[in-house]
Symmetry: C2
Subunit: 90 residues, 2 copies
Amino acid sequence: MRFVARVLVRPKDEVRDPQGEAVLAALRSLGHDVAEVRTGKEIVVTFSAADEDAARATAERMGDQLLANPVIEDYEVQVESAKETRVPSR
Amino acid sequence: MRFVARVLVRPKDEVRDPQGEAVLAALRSLGHDVAEVRTGKEIVVTFSAADEDAARATAERMGDQLLANPVIEDYEVQVESAKETRVPSR
């Protein structure tokens, strides 16, 4: 069965986020009254697994192994079964 | 009133995603049977607005002006009122 895992990787709260600081400064220079900006990455992985529990376990292993740096980042995994039946183009 | 807008910026489907291709290759080299990887950015903006409609309009203006490149990217906005009463540290 095919699953899609959305892995959201964010800098830990106590870690500086220079990209977010740059966006904050740019939004303020455009006249927006912004208090804070934090940025993160969304990684959407399509893969096969036996069932949803196995898919979640696999996605968390991907997060631990590669997608997040546990020293400075946290991640969150959302898993759902792939709706499309089409074969992905890559 | 304070709102938090999550802006998810993703490359359009027809645009190549070199970062996603690199993650795909790395996951495969770790032994994962992955069909496709797409990456995006999550930008979480905390700001003040009169009400939720105004907050959404402001967040979409930020997306159009700065956060997304409309030639190659799409974005999606989710707005909710900020739950914390603490003053953000930045």
